[in-house]
């Protein structure tokens, strides 16, 4: 690819012609969710599109070129997004590798690790999952017990992880393990584990929404080569905190100006209320109590969106997410959950359908999204943990007497 410098017009032309040549029209306008469902199927167009984007590095447009990224400037990446939107194209490269692990490894990994792992993420060849939470270490993440013993050229890992998103499909796991029993936060290391190792067992967990997006993962005498240690021994907590910031900004929708995050329920509750509840003689939503709650919600959502725009504008000179992500996670997940609750209420019993032809696909999606969305204020650091972080790191309030872990 030529060096376009600051001239985005030339880049726009390049992006346009490349997309015309490479984006299969059959995939036009399909959402990421559809893509996810088809990821396991044998869709030849999807495979070709993923391969083309992976080789071009445009799935991770701003990552450095030497590691297989697009090497684009922020301005060029925005042009690319506009041009993709223009033809209904979407990014087939995604998941935890691009959203959380890649940016973290680029910051903390050594040269060999970056050279090996980053291109494989950029080409979507390796699927990653997150081994953080344990049955006894949820909000108090640093109390984790999965242990990694030093055996010379490798670590021997034993223990159990839980809420491993996509664990059943993952090739690799970025994992927090205990390498020192005498210290809490300073006894944790960040290692990369091969999910195909015979000592790894994965069991999907069925959730209230009926899906199994999370798993339990058991490690029994899993050998992890020493070169899979990221950062210094016992220095994993710092890296984990950084990774969680990337995760939170994704969940809150801070990066996209959204507000529902990954489990958001679609549609405008106001428009749905007009349809399901109807209007009074003055053209207002017929139920005045519902109307006032809809107004409050719509204004919260607008305020959140304006804040996301403001923070993006302010962060332009700043690399990566800041402590503001804690505000955005709490505000964004609250807006998303409120919206789901309102839509379920607005739809009445039609919003409670579990399956069958008596319900529209939108209605069925509503109930699943509403239930699934309850996870957003629990994972990635619960609402309460975010409030602790705001209190301590931003407002400078002192620790409670009992020790805490964030």
């Amino acid at each position: 690819m030529a060096d376009f410098g600051g001239d985005t017009d030339a880049f726009r032309a390049e992006a346009r012609s490349w997309l015309e040549a490479n984006f299969p029209p059959s995939l036009k306008g399909k959402s990421g969710l559809v893509a996810l469902e088809e990821a396991t199927s044998e869709n030849a167009d999807l495979k070709a599109w993923t391969k083309a984007m992976g080789e071009k590095g445009w799935g991770v447009p701003t990552w450095p070129k030497q590691y297989g990224g697009g090497g684009l400037s922020g301005a060029e990446a925005r042009v690319l997004q506009q041009e993709m939107g223009r033809v209904g194209a979407w990014n087939p490269i995604g998941g935890m590798g691009t959203m959380m692990f890649g940016p973290t490894l680029l910051e903390y990994g050594n040269e060999e690790q970056k050279k090996y792992h980053i291109p494989r993420i950029a080409r979507q060849e390796v699927r990653w999952c997150q081994g953080f939470s344990e049955p006894g270490a949820g909000s108090d993440l640093a109390s984790l017990q999965t242990k990694a013993e030093d055996k010379g050229d490798h670590f021997l890992v034993n223990g159990q992880k839980i809420w491993t998103s996509g664990g059943q499909w993952a090739d690799m796991c970025f994992c927090l393990v205990r390498t020192d029993n005498t210290r809490k936060h300073e006894g944790i290391s960040f290692v990369l584990i091969d999910m195909h190792d015979p000592g790894v067992e994965v069991r999907p967990i069925k959730l209230i929404a009926g899906m199994s997006p999370f798993c339990e993962t058991f490690f029994t005498d899993v050998k992890v080569p020493k070169e899979n240690l990221v950062g210094p021994l016992n220095g994993g907590w710092t890296i984990a905190k950084r990774l969680l910031q990337h995760e939170r900004s994704g969940i809150g929708g801070g990066g996209s100006g959204g507000g529902g995050g990954v489990f958001g329920v679609g549609g405008s509750p106001v428009n749905l209320a007009k349809k399901y509840v109807g209007l009074d003689e003055k053209g207002r939503v017929a139920d005045s109590d519902l109307r006032s709650r809809l107004i409050g919600h719509e204004m919260d959502a607008k305020a959140f969106q304006l804040t996301a725009f403001r923070m993006m504008a302010e962060a332009k000179s700043n690399q990566g997410p800041s402590t503001a992500t804690s505000i955005m996670k709490n505000a964004g997940t609250k807006v998303g959950q409120d919206r789901a609750e309102l839509i379920v209420e607005v739809m009445g019993t039609q919003g409670l359908g579990w399956e069958g032809e008596d319900f529209t696909p939108e209605e069925l999606q509503t109930v699943r999204g509403w239930l699934g969305g309850k996870a957003t204020t629990i994972f990635g650091g619960s609402f309460e943990i975010q409030s602790n972080i705001i209190s301590k790191r931003i407002l400078g309030l002192p620790d409670p007497l009992s020790s805490s872990s964030n």
Binding site: R284, L294, I295, E298, A303, F309, R310, S391
Partner: protein, 378 residues
């Protein structure tokens, strides 16, 4: 904080320095205790005018600097922090906006330079009842010769005792509640038949009831178009609301920061009370709400500067959001300070009382939530 130009940063820094040094909350306390009838210190207001704050939105040809509404909002945020009492909002924002948006060249020439210099104080006289309802205008303006004769009463006229000029909403046709038939008039305070008395409110700021008894004005007193004053009034009000929102944001920020300092210093049970999670999470919520409110206030002011079509929607969003936030923070300020927060010697009461008066001015949260929904069609 929005991305500011160099001029805006300088203006904000100057406002911060002046309010902190020359007009801290103790200055407001002094004005209140002195029983000063204007409810502000004219010498302090003269200094503000001297620094150019009264001319921020006024075009250069009329003696202003034409820096725009976001710029004036930055100043108001700082005066809001220290509860600085002055007619800045009423005259340099509300009345000045009315003249800029609706005035003839002669009207602008007559009043804008005086407002920009601080020599004259203008204000809106638009309320007739206990709730903001700008279309419920009963004050009558009947044709009289080539002009009009005004009869009626306005209440909650901000800085009404200090004003030299009233921008009065009057009914020239139709009935109270009709948007058609409203006309705006420029009425000098010394016009024959104008009388006023101080309206003493809990926030100790300047307000008045103004009576118009057979006040004769010429046709040249009409601001904008006769009978068609509603659209102009809404535009003027939206500017006043956005400016007041900026002032309220400043008050809320200071109330929060003062409370936060107290949480870090007050010791009970052998530890600072700010180490208690029950208080920490309430502080975290206030901080989050303040960040969200700031986004709304800055978006509203910026939309006005850009003459964007979504001004009414964003202004109602800002006034409602910052109103909710100030309401919460002012209550928490008293609660978290405990007994000391209940004493007149502490500043918490000032913020609480000012909060409610500012919430009520130009429409409270309920008003603006309903307006937001009407604008968006639900």
């Amino acid at each position: 904080m929005a991305v500011l130009t160099e001029e805006q940063s300088m203006l904000r820094d100057a406002a911060r320095t002046w309010t902190q040094e020359k007009s801290p909350v103790s200055a407001f306390r002094k004005v209140r205790d002195s029983g000063q009838p204007l409810c502000y210190d004219p010498a302090a207001f003269a200094e503000m005018a001297e620094m150019g704050w009264t001319g921020v939105i006024i075009p250069e040809e009329y003696g202003g600097s034409n820096f725009g509404y976001l710029s004036l909002g930055l100043v108001l945020e700082e005066t809001g922090r220290t509860l600085t009492a002055s007619p800045l909002l009423s005259t340099a924002l509300a009345a000045a906006s009315a003249l800029i948006l609706g005035g003839t060249d002669a009207q602008k020439e007559a009043w804008l330079p005086k407002i920009a210099s601080g020599e004259a104080v203008g204000t809106l006289a638009i309320e007739e009842g206990p709730h903001h309802a700008p279309e419920k205008v009963a004050l009558a303006a009947a044709k009289s010769g080539s002009g009009y004769k005004l009869n009626g009463k306005k209440t909650f006229v901000l800085e009404g005792m200090a004003a030299n000029l009233f921008v009065v909403s009057a009914r020239t046709s139709g009935k109270p509640g009709d948007k058609d038939g409203i006309t705006l008039f420029l009425v000098p305070a010394d016009a024959k038949g104008v009388s006023r008395k101080a309206l003493k409110l809990a926030d100790s700021r300047g307000a008045a009831i103004v009576e118009f008894a057979g006040v004769e004005v010429g046709a040249d007193a009409v601001l904008g178009q006769a009978d068609k004053g509603w659209d102009l009034l809404e535009k003027v009000l939206d500017r006043a609301r956005a400016g007041l929102s900026a002032e309220m944001l400043g008050s809320a920020l200071q109330a929060f920061e003062t409370t936060l300092d107290y949480l870090k210093t007050r010791v009970q049970f052998g530890q600072v009370i700010g180490s208690f999670q029950a208080l920490q999470h309430r502080a975290a919520k206030m901080f989050t709400d303040l960040e969200l409110a700031r986004s709304c206030v800055e978006a509203a002011l910026t939309a006005i500067d850009n003459d964007s079509p979504d001004v009414p929607e964003l202004v109602s969003l800002a006034k409602a959001k910052v109103g909710d936030t100030l309401h919460l923070v002012s209550n928490e300020m008293v609660q978290m300070h405990g007994g000391i927060g209940m004493t007149d010697a502490h500043d918490a009461g000032f913020y609480l009382k000012r909060a409610r008066a500012a919430e009520a001015a130009y429409g409270n949260q309920a008003y603006h939530r309903d307006r937001y929904a009407r604008i968006n069609g639900y």
